[in-house]
């Protein structure tokens, strides 16, 4: 199937491109980017919308297998394409966890069958996510895992972390670290600071994250391996990553849109949609994270999309599970808070959400170079809209319901197929479930 999109602003940081241009897709691949292109198939006038490489989420909880009441691969990937994502990396803490080949294969097969976008499984570091012995990492890698993580839980045992880093270096993929010292967190439910004191809730200190980041960058240096710090949220973790990188350590890191946009003050509402781990931090930490984005210490923005059923969240704050959804609002939040407020430009944002994630996990995509898969998102940077509680995700545990944001995903194309189209009048041909070979 061929598709010519004319009259677009094309922003592709991988080619340092930001220009009015046309884009031609042939057989699911980007054929050409340039002026006054001619295509054989359908032609769409983008009317000045922005075309970017499809977003890639390094941190998604799809919940399948095992917790299909929260989310499935089908619904989670529909949420992804509604947010401009053309690929998501599925965390291993499913039930059973993705700690063996059969689970990886099931996720890949189900994604090919019912997924609206590409799904790259992340394998567990340890068997059963127990933090005791290594999972069969080479087997997981061979089955298609793109990284290893016990996310949701830290790898408390430093020796296990060391061995995981060494072994994954052989496999040339990173270990994604959920950085938390559970003794310091001590059952905390929100950031430890003024607001936890005011609300009488047990706190998770910043040091719970910072001490573990410090440990893991030292282990990455010792082993010469690549550690990727998941959902970094504190000033001290920023400093540890910056310092380690200056010392030549192979460390990358991601932050979430909610840690960019919100602080622990919001928890005064006791809304369980503000409960996640790491928790919303104080304004001081939030500012440090945003400054680290501006200065380039942060490599990627990842959602930590963590769907939960309404009933699970409709209880007392300290009993509710950690986690919020994020795929459908991530671009809009980041555009509104970072680009509209001139912290970074659009090109840098797309780098953080697409090109850089592709580089960190060595994934296809993240570029509009001819010959690349036609994974693209169409954006309307001027659209202002209010986030409502209706989502493509099965879940609605978003901290952003009611927010008015500027900048919106209008359409998402995966492998040349339109998988999401915001406008009912469908200016783009509707896509069918994508058939994919790995």
């Amino acid at each position: 199937m061929n598709l010519l999109i004319t009259n677009a602003r094309i922003v592709d940081p991988s080619q340092r491109l930001d220009a009015k241009s046309d884009l031609l897709i042939e057989n699911g691949v980007i054929a050409e980017v340039g002026k006054r292109l001619r295509g054989k198939g359908e032609t769409i006038d983008a009317g000045g919308l922005v075309i970017v490489p499809g977003l890639i989420d390094l941190h998604t909880h799809l919940r399948e297998p095992g917790q299909e009441h929260k989310e499935t691969i089908a619904t989670g990937t529909r949420a992804a394409v509604a947010g401009g994502y053309t690929a998501v990396c599925a965390m291993a803490n499913t039930i059973p966890p993705n700690d063996e080949r059969a689970v990886t294969e099931m996720i890949i097969a189900e994604s090919a069958r019912n997924g609206a976008c590409r799904v790259y499984p992340i394998g567990a570091v340890s068997k059963g996510l127990k933090g005791e012995e290594l999972a069969e990492l080479a087997d997981l890698r061979a089955a298609g895992c793109v990284a290893f993580s016990d996310d949701g839980k830290p790898v408390a045992n430093a020796q296990l972390m060391r061995r995981a880093l060494e072994y994954s270096a052989m496999l040339r993929i990173p270990v994604v670290a959920h950085e938390e010292d559970l003794n310091l967190s001590d059952g905390g439910v929100m950031h430890e600071g003024f607001y936890s004191t005011l609300l009488g809730m047990s706190g998770i200190p910043a040091a719970s994250e910072e001490t573990m980041v410090a440990r893991d960058v030292l282990l990455a240096r010792m082993t010469g391996s690549h550690v990727h710090v998941a959902h970094l949220s504190t000033a001290g973790a920023v400093a540890a990553v910056r310092g380690a990188r200056e010392g030549g350590v192979q460390v990358t890191c991601e932050v979430t849109p909610h840690h960019i946009a919100l602080t622990d003050e919001a928890v005064r509402s006791f809304s369980t949609n503000l409960k996640m781990n790491p928790p919303l931090r104080s304004e001081e930490h939030r500012k440090a994270v945003v400054a680290a984005i501006a200065e380039g210490t942060i490599d990627a923005i990842a959602t930590d999309h963590a769907p939960h059923h309404f009933d699970e969240k409709n209880i007392e704050f300290d009993l509710a599970p950690f986690g919020v959804i994020g795929l459908e609002t991530a671009f809009s939040i980041c555009h509104d808070r970072l680009v509209r407020r001139r912290v970074i430009d659009l090109s840098r944002l797309i780098d953080l959400m697409s090109c850089s994630p592709a580089r960190i996990f060595n994934l296809p995509g993240g570029t509009l170079r001819p010959g690349s898969p036609a994974d693209i998102a169409l954006l309307d940077l001027n659209a202002r809209f209010q986030v409502t509680n209706t989502f493509q995700s099965k879940a609605s545990n978003s901290p952003f319901i009611g927010e008015t944001l500027q900048g919106r995903v209008v359409a998402t194309i995966v492998g040349g197929m339109v998988q999401y189209d915001l406008r009912a009048r469908a200016p783009l041909p509707a896509g069918k479930p994508r058939k994919r070979k790995r």
Binding site: F194, T197, L198, L199, G200, M201, F270, E316, D318
Partner: protein
């Protein structure tokens, strides 16, 4: 100071944080009238006749539950006590479902005690009944702070300008949070004291002085408020032993020698004699601990009246 307002803004009493100084004064003034009711031979007024108050106690309580129930009865309300044990909560019903089921039987007010911070707000946001917070985790215990203020005002004549020292497990105390809100709103000076392991983060931002010495806390104080030490915290990294705690922060007659003439000693109960407070102090001339309990009924009558009775009378 006499009350400048004649009603409360909110349908609920979730905490002291949301109250204005005028509202606090209104409650304390109203309680004075109700204290007199409790001293009559017939201790009953018809203010809440025909109203149903449910006491929803999801956590163990003696003093507060009994005090609320007496206050409700003296106001002629119909009362119903509901505790977590022996109820459908044990079968896994959520608090919201429990409360909505109770609401279907049309109570006018629900008094809730819960170990989870924010539980009263969760009900207040969803139910038309007036919700009274009888203690939610380490968050707030507004009627305790009000009865403490009532007792201080009765003994010392004012709140403004007094020095109040609160000593003990500051981190896990709802009483201390409500008291800090109330006392700072009423322009009293508050000092909190205890080991750093029992001091919550950034509490000084609530406008209090933080010290780690009992002597410093005692010196110059008009009011000393001792907090209960939860015995199960011993040896769990909060402090090494009860013995050491008593030697460091326990209030004894010897330590009180440094105190100002006329100092009063308070405790919200339940007390651990020989842990945070010596019996000689608890039962001594400084102590107003049982007066606090007496005043609790009057203050709770005032709150119930202002939230229920005053509206019904309109």
């Amino acid at each position: 100071m006499r009350a400048q307002t004649s009603s409360l803004q909110s349908k609920d009493l979730l905490g002291i944080e949301q109250l204005s100084p005028e509202e606090i004064t209104l409650i304390l003034d109203t309680a004075e009238g109700f204290k007199e009711v409790s001293e009559r031979p017939v201790k009953k007024v018809p203010a809440l006749r025909g109203q149903l108050v449910i006491n929803l106690f999801m956590e163990a309580s003696t003093r507060t539950r009994v005090s609320f129930e007496i206050a409700e009865k003296r106001l002629s309300a119909d009362t119903l006590n509901f505790t977590a044990s022996g109820s459908s909560v044990e079968k896994g019903e959520t608090l919201i479902d429990t409360a909505e089921n109770l609401m279907a039987m049309a109570p006018d007010m629900i008094v809730i005690r819960d170990k989870h911070p924010g539980a009263p707000k969760m009900l207040a946001d969803r139910l038309p009944a007036s919700i009274i917070n009888a203690g939610d985790g380490a968050h707030e215990h507004p009627t305790q702070a009000l009865l403490d203020a009532f007792t201080i005002r009765e003994r010392l004549g004012r709140l403004h300008g007094l020095k109040v020292s609160i000593i003990g497990d500051i981190a896990h105390s709802r009483v201390v949070r409500s008291n800090i809100h109330l006392l700072t709103k009423m322009k009293a000076g508050v000092t909190v004291a205890g080991p750093p392991t029992l001091m919550p983060a950034e509490i000084e931002k609530l406008g209090v002085r933080v010290v780690h010495s009992l002597d410093e806390a005692i010196e110059g104080a008009d009011v000393i408020m001792m907090l209960r030490i939860q015995l199960e915290r011993q040896g769990k990294l909060s402090f090494p032993s009860l013995r050491e705690y008593y030697n460091t922060f326990g209030l004894t007659p010897q330590r009180l020698r440094r105190a100002k003439e006329g100092v009063i000693v308070m405790h919200p109960g339940p007390m651990n004699r020989g842990v945070e407070i010596a019996s000689d102090v608890a039962d001594g001339p400084w102590s107003v601990i049982l007066e606090q309990v007496t005043n609790g009924v009057a203050v709770r009558m005032a709150v119930l009246y202002l939230l229920g009775g005053a509206h019904a009378a309109e």
